[in-house]
Symmetry: C2
Subunit: 253 residues, 2 copies
């Protein structure tokens, strides 16, 4: 085992319970199995309900448990590895893209988006809504903002609305030379429309991936993608694969 | 403004309040300013305390508000952009590394780590603890696991412990040829020791970045880095810069 010189820090009571519960999940419960109710669990481990609830919340945050209305608390499957950063130098909609276009609208973007795009107040911005599935489950919802000046060849009569319009916009986008892309990941909360699409409650924690696609020295398209934080592990490889794979291991900490 | 064809979804009551509060934060409050107490805020916006609390929780999750013991709820500065994915093909401890070594121990790694490293039960694993600062604030804590077989030239007498030992381990690591690195980002909760280092409460939401460093066809080192989710936006650029920069914009959704 060797000796450790790392400083030890006293941990709160629920933390020890969380560790014990986590081991019980590994040894006694199968994925998808419903946990006993809180009263029974608190009695079994000899802790107060409040302590138990804190431990359950932590395990939910770490993706070990799922709480669903009308079902109860179940043992979560390992998080899915979802490739995010490996499609270098390809526009949205290029061959091999994992996203499905759902709709396309011309709407004024939120102020924060307009600031990044540096668009004029009167410039049309195409807003493409896309979704991403993995293993039959929705894993992410995306809003893709494309200023009209990025797709000058687009004609109004060609597919006026819906998924066909979205595909027409993305097809035009491929004509630009992509100079670079910059991604950022941060914690967010699910908007009501995204939550519905992702089968979550509004306000659930999500991982927000913002990607700026740069062409001709400016941001030619901006993607704001909302990933389920409970089921997804976002992978950024420098191997070339864009395949979505199940990762066998849990959070390694 | 143009017309929108995106489906509209009814939003819960606190969501509208969140939007209103967010605008009030922009127009009436400065960064660092303490918000009025919950009773006064609920009265001002004509909502129940429970509704107000939900909205405040969302704003905290999105990094707009900070709650600190003994201080109250304050307006958060914009999240810092912290570069994570741009140091391609460099070992930890290479020139320009943003991390500071704090300690080094020989300890049995957690089971999940051992599984990834595929180490024998008896093999020594060096555990280097490092920390990362930005703008005078702690932004991340890291545990770096390096099997003894990855650093065969390391002598036991050379710096037996502490930061000097950590640097000796990392120096040896540079001799291996780095074949690739794979990163994953997921939601987690702060362990007590990380929480202390990051000036957060145990269990606070964190972004866990796991990096596998591959050499000679196997994982030669594994980094598990815990980033503050409230103050950090993790950036993955394909430009070469490793500079940490303040991002002026908020979550663009």
């Amino acid at each position: 085992m060797g000796s450790t010189q790392l400083e030890t820090v006293p941990e709160p009571k629920y933390w020890h319970l969380k560790t014990v519960l986590s081991e019980a999940l590994d040894s006694e419960f199968a994925v998808g199995e419903i946990l006993p109710n809180e009263r029974d669990l608190a009695a079994r481990f000899g802790v107060a309900r409040a302590t138990l609830r804190q431990a359950l919340e932590q395990l939910e945050l770490e993706g070990r448990l799922q709480r669903r209305r009308g079902v109860g608390t179940t043992v979560a499957p390992p998080r899915m590895g979802v490739a995010v950063g490996t499609e270098q130098h390809a526009w949205p909609g290029a061959a091999g893209d994992a996203w499905q276009s759902a709709d396309c609208a011309q709407a004024a973007p939120p102020a924060a988006v307009a600031a990044i795009l540096e668009t004029d107040r009167n410039e049309v911005v195409h807003t493409v809504r896309r979704s991403r599935m993995s293993h039959g489950q929705p894993v992410a919802a995306e809003l893709l903002y494309i200023p009209a000046s990025s797709v000058p060849g687009l004609t109004a009569i060609d597919a006026p609305s819906g998924p066909a319009r979205a595909r027409a916009v993305l097809r035009e986008l491929q004509h630009l030379e992509l100079e670079g892309q910059e991604r950022a990941v941060e914690l967010g909360s699910a908007r009501a429309d995204d939550a519905k699409e992702l089968d979550r409650l509004p306000g659930a924690p999500v991982l927000v991936v913002t990607t700026r696609f740069v062409a001709a020295g400016r941001v030619a398209a901006l993607s704001v993608a909302t990933y389920r934080a409970d089921t997804c592990r976002l992978t950024f490889g420098d191997s070339g694969s864009v395949e979505i794979h199940h990762g066998p291991e849990r959070q390694a900490s």
